[in-house]
Amino acid sequence: MTSPASSRSAAPGRSGFLRSLYDVFAQVMATSHGSFGVIILTILTVTAIFAPIIAPYDPIALTDDSLAPPSWTYLFGTDNLGHDIFSMVVYGARSSLIVGLSTALASLLLGGVMGMLAGYYRGVFETVLMRVAELFQTLPAIIIVLFLVSLFGSSFWLLLAAVALAIWPLQARLVYGQFIRLREADYVAAAIVAGLPVRHVILREMLPNAMQPIIVQVALDASIAILIEAALGYLGISDPNMVSWGQLLYEAQNFMSEAWWMSIFPGAAICLAIVGLNMVADGLNEAADPKSGSASRNFHD
């Protein structure tokens, strides 16, 4: 990690944390994947926030037409009961983004704290974290979530908790790895010798320099969470009181031969969200390693 960013933020000022956040953002915007991803996510966020203004119909109200193909009246067509699919897709952005954002932040909080403690203090913290992470990794996240949902039910809040519980070890392992590495850095050793409080060393000296990979993981966590929520909806197991993209696909299953629009648009929306998040992650990685790709050009020279 000798990217310009890390050397720049190696001596963070008073607002080291915020500045490193801004640095990361500037770098993402400098890559084509990153800026494209940010645009996609902005569009989705705006859609979610202003859903009542954008959606032409109430997503749970019935129109007079059932199974109407896409037209100017119903942009994405209507389903078997007469719901306007465009309006449902617009409102669906809300549940997906809430799931993605809140579980990624919950993982960041839980995984971040666990990873920092394990990476800084090692010892017992390290052993416990590694064993627990290993336990979680014996099962795919979707199976963990299915297991929890089967036992405790699938209301929206339980679903959020189940997804967060299934994915937090990813972030914990990452933060742990970063902190193990940073603990060896000279300026961290210097800060400890200088007698700065642990809180200062961790939050001001180490955290800003681990921001980039942590934010990549936040984006990836959010995309995994959105995918799991959509998958549960598709399986017909998520909260029936929420309008969600996955559930629209579940309902589309019975009308696959007569109403392609019931399947195309909600699926494309899920795809868009996941592509957007992965592009941001890719852009961040590219910014951290700008040399990538140059070797193949030399090979052909």
Binding site: S32, H33, L135, I142, L151, A231, Y234, G267, S296
Partner: protein
């Protein structure tokens, strides 16, 4: 080498035990009647209730309960599925080979495709070509498998009628030998296509990065200076050194696929372990759910062990390590 395998084995057993113990503790946390928590929302006769209470020692202290719970698993008794009216283990053993067939078929086709795409992308001389490949594989990997499956069914099964929409084969099959295999392939085609897009894209992304990493190594430059042609370098140095990361990550992906391709099996109503799990979750058939979870964990642990061994065999540094 044997030491390594033994070490991993010794490591795997407590891990599986821990999975079972966590399942047990989770069942304890369900509020209400413990018998219902175990069997799910099915009506239970008093006689059955008594037998469950005796078998799992539900009226004894929690440690005794845990002991009898583990003992039952160790004896191969995974409980009884109310939904299917048969022992959970029989149910799992019936479903498991089908999931293995699906996963093997999917990966056998998907990984070579991914390797080739990744190699082309990694070797692409222009920044623009590289970028296009990266974007394409990123999108391919981001497409949800269940949506892609639905689209394929709509296009190739319902509209064009080339392939069946679902299932593993016809109810009554009179085909033998090669015909039987072809019949099976007919049903495998669409699910395998989903694997090609998803797992192929994963493999391609890793292969691309790995190829570029290898290209920047000194021995490639050295080989160029010695006057080897590009083709020779690719065959002799590049491939061998780039494939390893793909093998390991694909191995781990394969492990979790065996643990239940929940989504692909659901789209194509492929009656494997994943579909069993989903049906059990829907019916709250908790004994089956726990059974599948434990078997899935065991599969992941075993396959990961195998991947580690293969990795060790291909890497002389690891091979000779004590």
């Amino acid at each position: 080498m044997t030491r390594l395998i033994l070490l991993r084995l010794v490591h795997g057993v407590p891990l599986l035990l821990a999975v079972i113990i966590v399942c047990f503790l989770m069942l304890q946390m369900i509020p209400g009647d413990p018998v219902q928590a175990m069997v799910g929302d099915f009506p239970v006769t008093q006689a059955f209730r008594d037998s469950i209470e005796a078998k799992y020692r539900l009226n004894d202290p929690i440690l005794t309960q845990l002991g009898s719970y583990l003992l039952n698993f160790a004896q191969g008794d995974f409980g009884f599925s109310f939904q299917n009216q048969m022992p959970v283990l029989d149910l799992i053993l019936e479903r498991l080979p089908r999931t293995i067939l699906l996963a093997v078929a999917g990966f056998v086709v998907a990984i070579p495709v991914g390797l080739v795409v990744g190699l082309i992308a990694g070797l692409s001389p222009s920044r623009r070509a590289d970028r296009i490949w990266t974007t394409l594989t990123l999108i391919a990997f981001a497409i949800p498998t269940f949506w892609l499956g639905q689209l394929l069914v709509m296009m190739f099964a319902l509209k064009l009628d080339w392939f069946p929409t679902q299932g593993i084969g016809p109810f009554v099959s009179r085909a033998h030998g090669v015909d039987w295999l072809l019949e099976r392939l007919h049903y495998l085609a669409l699910p395998v296509a989903v694997f090609v897009v998803h797992e192929g894209a994963r493999a391609a992304r890793i292969m691309r990065a790995s190829v570029q990493e290898t290209l920047s190594q000194g021995y490639i430059v050295n080989a160029r200076m010695k006057g080897l042609t590009r083709g020779e370098i690719i065959r002799k140095h590049l491939l061998r050194n780039s494939v390893l990361p793909v093998v390991t990550t694909s191995g781990y992906a394969f492990a979790s696929t065996l643990g239940g391709t929940v989504l692909i099996e659901s789209v194509f109503t492929w009656p494997g372990l994943g579909l069993l799990l989903v049906d059990a979750v829907r019916a709250r058939d908790n004994m089956t759910v726990v059974g599948v979870v434990v078997v899935a964990a065991a599969m992941v642990i075993v396959v990961n062990l195998l991947v580690d061994v293969i990795y060790a065999l291909t890497d002389p540094r690891v091979r000779s390590a004590r």
